[in-house]
């Protein structure tokens, strides 16, 4: 009796062909949002997409792409999404989800004009309309395009999938603040040596994974909150979120993403045993204090060992706790007695931990300062302190102007980066929430997409000139992200 889902060969043809098709099809779809159908770029993108479609039809006889939840099936075989293709799949998935289209089928070769008809039909569909597929079907029929078929996206509207961005935001906010509350409870339980409610933490992390898989920008945006309640509570939640989002892009399966979240959430538990005077001391630490401070990964490991039976989850939590101060080159602490490769979970949490701590204000009464310079520091330390491949994935995730960065635009407007474009080609053109000053305080303005082009000049309407220090404007960026 099969207990596990069958493993798929990563190199198998359906994954290769399905990936090729999705990339070309998505690029064409994105093109239709910017250019009209007579534009030379559309011609080129159509040709590229046709070339793939025809090749698949010739070799496979049929091209059937189906989306079930967050899984893609190519001719009924599940596609495994690789780390470097993650962004484009996610972006494509979001576009299709918005339109409630879950199936696309080409039963034979099509002409360029028919493909253009079809793609513009898709492009112009209204958002969140469950009947879109019927409309497309009718239109295709009307235009005598018989070789293309579409189907409805299969998921339940009120399930853990949120079409509406406000719902998604509300859900993410609940997950975020409930998780802060949970960490507080966990710390209290450890201090009072009470049994821990792992189940609750698991549920919250599973919810966090759900939210991140839908759209990671909301929770990643919330991870810009740095001074909410005690440092450890806030920091632990941020690390968990950053780790899950990073793990997702690396291709860690869903179940293990929740484990990764748990590992992030509990990575600093060793600090609960360090006296507060040492933990919060701003002056120089004595060598005894240092040695106590540096024991926290080991102590954290031991706390987890005690609170959780040895198994898959506890192993990963232990990896996170033990390794999060070990560097990629094995420097750091605790000093290892035997050289070995650090675990993937450990390497991910190290990066998430470093980033969140670095973004934290270092001076009293200052706000967090997110800027591309932080990524510069991480890149500089890549290969020595951090796994270089994971740093790259991290930058692709957080953007070169990271979420939460205060930016000055070439229109002389000021804004906060709130969403990174999934297409890596457009990583420097995020969505920005404009900020304006009125009645003595900064207020949220409209959200602008820096991909938007001026139809007259063909240039981008806005671009980032530089990043700004929110402290100079007495602004806590997190307030604009909650």
């Amino acid at each position: 009796m099969p207990e596990e889902k069958p493993n798929l060969d990563h190199e198998h043809l359906p994954t290769t062909l399905g990936t090729e098709f999705i990339i070309k099809f998505y690029r064409l779809l994105k093109g239709t949002m910017i250019y009209d159908r007579k534009n030379a770029i559309i011609d080129r993108l159509t040709q590229e997409c046709l070339e793939v479609i025809h090749r698949i039809i010739q070799s496979e006889g049929n091209l059937f792409l189906k989306i079930v939840r967050d899984n893609f099936f190519f001719n009924n075989i599940r596609i495994i999404v690789k780390a470097d293709k993650y962004a484009i799949f996610k972006a494509f998935w979001q576009e299709m989800r918005r339109r409630w289209i879950g199936e696309v089928e080409f039963s034979e070769e099509v002409s360029g004009e028919h493909l253009k008809d079809f793609i513009y039909l898709l492009s112009k569909l209204e958002e969140n309309n469950e009947s879109n597929y019927l409309y497309v079907k009718k239109q295709l029929e009307y235009r005598h395009i018989e070789s293309v078929q579409v189907g409805r996206l299969e998921f339940f509207k009120d399930e853990d999938i949120y079409i509406d961005s406000e719902d998604q935001k509300k859900y993410s906010k609940e997950v975020y603040f409930k998780t802060i509350g949970l960490v507080k409870e966990v710390v209290e339980s450890i201090n009072q040596q009470k049994a821990l409610n792992i189940r609750k933490a698991k549920r919250l992390m599973q919810n966090a994974v759900n939210a991140i898989m839908q759209d990671d920008s909301t929770l990643l945006g919330l991870a810009n909150i740095k001074n909410y309640d005690e440092y450890t509570f806030n920091h632990s939640v941020n690390v968990a979120i950053l780790a899950i989002a990073l793990g997702q892009r690396i291709g860690i399966p869903k179940k293990h993403l929740s484990h990764l979240g748990m590992a992030g959430l509990f990575h600093d538990m060793g600090k609960t045993r360090i006296p507060k005077e040492i933990l919060n001391k701003t002056g120089k630490l004595s060598s005894e204090e240092w040695s106590m401070m540096r024991s926290h990964p080991l102590v954290g490991t031991e706390i987890i060992m005690r609170m959780k039976e040895w198994g898959e989850l506890s192993t990963r939590m232990i990896d996170g706790a033990f390794e999060h101060h070990l560097r990629y080159d094995l420097a750091g602490y605790p000093r290892l007695t035997r050289k070995r490769k650090l675990t993937l979970f450990g390497r991910i949490i190290t990066i998430a931990d470093f980033y969140d701590a670095l973004v934290r204000p270092r001076v009293y009464n200052r706000f967090p300062y997110v800027s591309e310079k932080i990524l510069g520091i991480m890149l500089e330390r890549s290969g020595k302190d951090f796994d270089p491949a994971i740093v790259k994935v991290f930058i692709n995730m957080i953007g070169i102007f990271p979420l939460g960065t205060l930016v000055l635009l070439n229109t002389n407007e000021m804004g906060i980066v709130i969403q990174i474009q999934e297409d890596p080609e457009l990583i420097d053109r995020p969505k920005v929430c404009l900020i304006y000053y009125s009645d003595g305080e900064y207020r949220k303005g409209k959200v602008v997409d820096l991909r938007e082009m001026d139809e007259g000049t063909g240039d981008f309407k806005r671009g980032i000139v530089k990043t700004l220090d929110p402290n100079e404007y007495n602004m806590n960026v997190a307030e604009f992200l909650i």
Binding site: K5, A83, E302, A331, L344, Y364
Partner: protein, 588 residues
């Protein structure tokens, strides 16, 4: 089917608590939903009751899959609403049970599940997956999991659910509705020194001015902003990450914890966590043995020995670590090895490597298992292991000399022989008088291996045993021992009056034994036997001459060779042939 049920269990009550239908139901969808629900619950009950390898279960499950597929092909989806005690479909109750101990509805409801949805395309693994969760719903550790967390982890494609987790809230959490509420909870503190240093170079302990670094104005954008190749993954990196993911999501990745546990053994100075680490290492060892990963189990034990040797440990630490080695040889663990050897072809050299790392406490359980092992090669491995572990523990073997199983006694004698200690002689002597010839032969071998004067004395006695096989074996073992004390009795036998009357095989064995001793002392006797004239039948004297010539060749000293060379030219044809053959066989 009654015959499939274990004797201590009664036939299960697979009836389903379906509410009675008033009047005839005409809605086909509802009728089918009712039937499907009934089957679903029946299957879960069956899976709870029957052992997992019962063939009935597969039949039940396959039937359920068919019903699901029929329904879903017709209606696309099947949605069950979960009430506190009832399951319903489109508002109609299909199942009701108010007994909280047995009610499936209640077990789902209490975990927050409010709806389960099955979609067209439902696959076999998904049906099995949900059965696996629901069949064990009573055994779930509520501090760690519930039906919802388990369903989530399965990541079903065609099964969805609606769940609430509000009941988990012990204390209400404030979710800031607006900026003012948010600001209330903000805490502004300067950064602790350790965080600052952690962000900087590890070695310095001084920290660096990261704030300064970040606020430093740069006129030009940082290189990576314009040079995107800096953060584009190479195909090697993509492949590397894929491999990392693959290895870390593998269930065996749990064993990776071993590295960290050994770090704890080297670093920790507190007793309690130290003991925790030791306990988990024992669990890891258990898992290795259960899975038949003997090589990994012995690697773990080797690391334990290395830790003991390498680090400057306190007495309590040593004691704690040694517990792993002791536990490694406890009966439960040895039984695990036995179970693996029973069911599969294990790499016996790996088993051997593991056994060699055990200590005295493992002897009894190992002997117990030895008596049960059916595979002769495995028995050999166990005997060799025991011979190594039992070097200084003869007394632990001796009770088994009385065992009623001759084969076990033989194995014990084999082990005692390999250990080669004089203290075993009384027990070997006992075995020498065993009623089974195979045990007696093993005892002779053991005496040969021990080889001390007492053992030789016993072997000499055996030269006159009534059983020819024992006599031969005793002779050979005396020869192998290569001692003068053995030679004299052997020579006495070969020179005895009636020796020529013995079976050719025995004659041959005795001369071989004399040869094996390799002493020149035997040369004159052998020369005499080689050249002695025949008073008896020609055949018999030929056997004596051949034996003597071969023994001289085996001795191989210049003196022995000289006699053979000279006798090669003997007038007697049989002497010539015997010597020529002996020299030839020796040179080849």
């Amino acid at each position: 089917m009654a015959e499939d049920i274990s004797s201590d269990k009664k036939a299960p009550d697979l009836s389903v608590e379906m509410p009675s239908i008033e009047g005839g139901e005409t809605d086909e969808e509802l009728l089918l939903a009712r039937d499907l629900t009934s089957s679903f619950i029946k299957v879960i009950k069956a899976f709870r009751f029957y052992p997992p390898d019962n063939p009935t279960l597969k039949g039940f499950r396959d039937q359920l899959i068919k019903k699901f597929q029929f329904f879903l092909n017709k209606y696309q989806s099947f949605i069950i609403q979960v009430g506190e005690y009832a399951l319903s479909f489109k508002g109609k109750t299909l199942y009701e049970n108010r007994d909280v101990k047995t009610s499936l509805a209640f077990s789902l409801y209490k975990d927050g599940l409010r709806e389960i949805r099955f979609m067209k395309g439902l696959e076999e693994w998904e049906v099995q997956g949900i059965i696996d969760i629901l069949k064990q719903s009573e055994q779930i550790n509520q501090l760690e999991d519930d039906i919802v967390t388990l369903m989530w982890e399965k990541d079903f494609i065609h099964i969805g659910y609606l769940a609430t987790d509000e009941f988990l809230e012990e204390t209400p959490v404030v979710i800031p509705e607006d900026v003012d509420q948010f600001r209330k909870n903000l805490v502004f503190k300067p950064l602790a020194h350790h965080v600052e240093v952690d962000l900087a170079e590890e070695a310095s302990e001084e920290g660096v001015d990261l704030d300064g670094l970040l606020s430093k104005r740069t006129e030009e954008p940082l290189p990576f902003v314009s040079d995107r190749s800096v953060y584009f993954l190479t195909s090697e990196e993509v492949e590397g990450l894929r491999k990392d993911v693959e290895s870390e999501v593998d269930p065996t990745f749990v064993f990776n914890i071993t590295d960290i546990l050994f770090e704890i053994l080297a670093l920790e100075k507190e007793r309690e966590p130290y003991q925790d680490a030791v306990n988990i290492l024992i669990k890891v060892l258990d898992a290795f043995l259960t899975l038949g990963e003997f090589s990994k189990a012995s690697d773990l034990l080797k690391r334990v020995y290395i830790t003991l040797k390498t680090y400057d440990l306190q007495d309590w630490q040593i004691e704690s670590i040694q517990k792993i080695i002791t536990e490694a040889g406890e009966e439960t663990r040895i039984e695990r090895i036995g179970k693996v050897l029973e069911r599969e072809e294990a790499r016996l050299e790996d088993v051997n490597a593991y056994l060699l790392l055990l200590q005295k406490n493992s002897i009894k359980p190992l002997i117990k298992l030895l008596g049960e092992l059916k595979n002769s090669k495995a028995r050999r491995i166990f005997c060799d292991g025991l011979a190594e572990i039992g070097k200084n523990a003869i007394e632990l073997f001796t009770p088994f000399i009385e065992d009623r199983r001759w084969y076990l006694v033989r194995n014990i004698i084999y082990v005692l022989g390999r250990i080669g200690k004089e203290q075993s002689l009384p027990y070997i002597q006992k075995a020498f008088n065993h009623e089974d010839i195979r045990v007696r032969r093993e005892a002779i071998q053991a005496l040969g291996l021990i080889g001390d004067p007492k053992a030789i004395g016993l072997l000499v006695k055996a030269l006159t045993d009534n059983d020819v096989r024992i006599r031969c074996m005793a002779a050979i073992n005396l020869g192998k021992g290569g001692k003068r004390a053995g030679l004299i009795p052997l020579l006495e036998v070969v020179q005895s009056k009636d020796f020529y009357k013995r079976e050719p095989a025995e004659i041959k064995a005795f001369f071989n034994a004399v040869g094996m001793v390799g002493s020149n002392e035997a040369v004159p006797v052998l020369q005499q036997l080689l050249e002695r004239k025949s008073w008896f039948g020609r055949g018999k004297i030929d056997e004596i001459r051949t034996g003597a010539a071969n023994a001289l060749a085996t001795i191989g000293t210049p003196e022995a060779k000289a006699i053979l060379e000279e006798a090669k030219n003997s007038k007697d044809e049989t002497v010539r042939d015997a010597c020529t053959q002996a020299l030839k066989s020796q040179s080849s």
